[in-house]
């Protein structure tokens, strides 16, 4: 008898969601749905506010990646002012963005996903958690804490506080970086580089033991999208949009982020509040694409910093074409941490970084502005329209996690078809379906502008909708 499984809540991700698996008459999973069940409506309640408030309103969307929203919003405001920021401010903003990528990736890898790697996909959830990791491998715990601490301290040093800083302003940043602070930051670099390298060594040693997960965790052809700089590196703060395909070939290149409505569509499905962006020329849902660490490493032919470049070469040797398994998002996160640390060091060693000119001022010059940057989870776009008094009349946010929505849904279906094969649900089945989502590290607080933890419910339904089995976790 066909049936449906619901996983509610999904755990160890940011936000609330549930999963429904539809079974067919043969007991195979026929459909999978990832339901994001919250809505906050930031795009609506900002209407009527002065544009210069937007960076500080929009960063409140998220407590994990507020810096991304702060930067994308400030860049949209820069566009409203039709101005560039001082060179020092541009580099300081770039450092801030990379610092956030470090702390967010460390959170995802060490705090949320390492229990799966270290304790095991089938282990009892009472053991398979952050504390289980700390008990079994304290060194791994110290690495994660130190890397996250480094990213957060860097944000605090530059921006005054770790969460929801107001240092980035339209036209630049509020305060330049002192030589003393720069030197303190530089002094920490060797230690965190060593930790990032050790973590990569540890993960690469054991990653092949997850062969089944690598094969079945959202491992399929798709497009990849992200920002690429003029020198062909992943553009975390700036660049043009590039799409590549699963063979690694460029599909579209040098697209203006501000022109995103020309090449990105947003579909809506009745089972979730999260939209489904797609690549317009291929239509919906064939225009499926992925963003974030895996995409960024697939888009370019050069990582750009010495140590990360070595790791990137090894990473790309995993496949002759693009690296397709979403399980490798975890691997890509570690490489990006290493890249970010090296790149931060480059910026800090640039004498321009401590120049006192950190902000320009201007009046409103445009009635429409778009800001774009790479958030930890992928490409983030803020788009505002204002009236002649500078009050917001319309806002649209295209969020990193949202870009991956189609891929997450398809990935859940792939994993569920492989692992869920009976009317009785097991913890290992449930965790693997969750872990597919966890690989993408979705931030549902961002993508729906929603709030809170993400509990999990899996429901197993018959073809006629009868509930056959159900597992709930969290609340």
């Amino acid at each position: 008898m066909p049936k449906t499984i619901t996983i509610d809540p999904v755990t160890r991700i940011e936000g609330h969601a549930k999963i429904t698996l539809q079974m067919d008459e043969q007991g195979e999973v026929s459909e999978a749905y990832f339901h994001v069940t919250q809505f906050r409506g930031f795009e609506k309640f900002c209407v009527g506010r002065p544009f210069y408030e937007m960076p500080y309103l929009m960063e409140r969307i998220c407590g994990i990646c507020p810096v991304s929203h702060l930067l994308a919003s400030a860049k949209a405001c820069d566009a409203l002012l039709a101005m560039k920021v001082p060179p020092a401010a541009g580099k300081l903003r770039r450092i801030l963005n990379l610092a956030q990528i470090i702390q967010s990736h460390a959170l995802s890898f060490f705090y949320l996903s390492s229990p799966d790697f270290l304790i095991g996909m089938d282990a009892d959830p009472k053991e398979r958690n952050f504390f289980g990791v700390m008990a079994k491998n304290p060194e791994l715990g110290r690495w994660g804490i130190r890397l996250r601490q480094f990213g957060q301290q860097l944000i605090e040093t530059l921006a005054g506080k770790r969460i929801h800083p107001d240092w980035v302003v339209p036209g630049g940043v509020n305060e330049p970086l002192s030589i003393e602070k720069r030197d303190k930051l530089l002094a920490q670099i060797p230690e965190v580089i060593e930790i990032a390298q050790k973590a990569l060594t540890w993960f690469k040693r054991d990653v092949e033991t997850f062969r089944e997960e690598i094969r079945t965790f959202a491992n399929f052809p798709s497009l990849f999208m992200g920002l690429v700089t003029v020198d062909e590196r992943a553009g975390y703060y700036e660049g043009k949009i590039r799409f590549t395909d699963s063979l690694g070939d460029i599909v579209a290149d040098k697209l203006e982020p501000a022109h995103y409505p020309e090449y990105l569509g947003e579909a809506v499905e009745p089972f979730t509040f999260m939209k489904f962006p797609y690549y317009k020329p291929l239509g919906y849902p064939d225009g499926i694409y992925r963003v974030g660490p895996l995409a960024r490493l697939n888009l370019v032919d050069n990582c750009g910093t010495p140590l990360a470049q070595q790791e990137w070469v090894e990473f790309r040797e995993l496949e002759r074409t693009a690296v397709l398994s979403s399980f490798y998002y975890h691997y890509a996160r570690l490489i990006e941490i290493l890249f970010a640390i090296e790149h931060i060091e480059e910026y800090l060693l640039d004498p321009i970084i401590t120049k006192s000119q950190a902000r320009y001022s201007a009046s409103l010059n445009n009635l429409e502005g778009v800001g774009c940057c790479e958030a930890p989870r992928g490409t983030l776009i803020h788009h505002y329209r204002v009236d002649e008094q500078g009050l917001i009349t319309w806002a649209n946010l295209v969020i990193a996690t949202g870009h991956n929505n189609l891929a997450m849904n398809r990935g859940i279906l792939q994993a569920a078809r492989h692992f869920v094969r009976s009317e009785r649900l097991t913890e290992g089945m449930l965790n693997r379906v969750e872990a597919v989502i966890r690989a993408f590290d979705p931030c549902l607080s961002c993508s729906t502008h929603a709030d809170g933890h993400m509990p999990l419910q899996i429901r197993l339904l018959s073809p006629d909708g009868t509930l056959l089995d159900e597992i709930r976790r969290g609340s």
């Binding site: 940011e14 407590g63 994990i64 959170l107 705090y111 949320l112 009472k126 958690n129 952050f130 504390f131 289980g132 700390m134 008990a135 304290p138 715990g141 110290r142 804490i145 130190r146 996250r148 601490q149 957060q152 770790r162 969460i163 933890h453």
Partner: protein, 154 residues
């Protein structure tokens, strides 16, 4: 090694939830030994395990929605893992002590949680009267703890 560490937790935009931040400000403005490290955060997260491991005494300060407004409670904290709470949003004092010991080999033998009962946790940057009036008593309580006085529980 830091002699003492005070960890204040609260949201400055949630009315009485911010009482610990106010208490921390009072302590910073000359109300305790200048060598005492005082850290204010919106959340307690695992990264705090490292500075905790270096302290001889740690005092956690927080608001409580489950106590009568303006009342103050002080109780000792022992290390214990706590997987029930989401670590990305809040790590309990007991779990932080446990992490300090597991990851860094030691935790302060004297660890206390000082809580102040709140009346309102709505969106506001203003404290309620009973909570505002409780701040001097809470500061004196923490100073006494820092000076080595063992207070009765409750």
């Amino acid at each position: 090694m830091n002699r003492a560490l005070v960890l204040a937790c609260g949201n400055s935009q949630r009315s009485d939830d911010s009482v610990a931040l106010h208490i921390a400000s009072c302590l910073r403005s000359g109300n305790c030994d200048p060598e005492t490290e005082i850290l204010s955060h919106q959340q307690w997260t695992p990264e705090l395990a490292e500075p905790i491991s270096k302290a001889e005494i740690v005092i956690f300060v927080d608001a409580s929605a489950g106590m009568p407004p303006g009342t103050i409670e002080c109780r000792p904290v022992q290390p214990a893992p706590d997987a029930s709470a989401g670590i990305t949003h809040r790590t309990s004092p007991a779990a932080l002590l446990w992490l300090a010991e597991k990851l860094y080999g030691r935790y302060p033998q004297r660890a206390c949680l000082v809580t102040v009962g709140g009346a309102s946790f709505e969106l506001s940057e203003t404290l309620s009267d009973p909570v505002s009036h409780a701040i001097p008593r809470a500061v004196e309580c923490i100073k006494a703890l820092l000076s080595g006085v063992t207070l009765p529980e409750g």
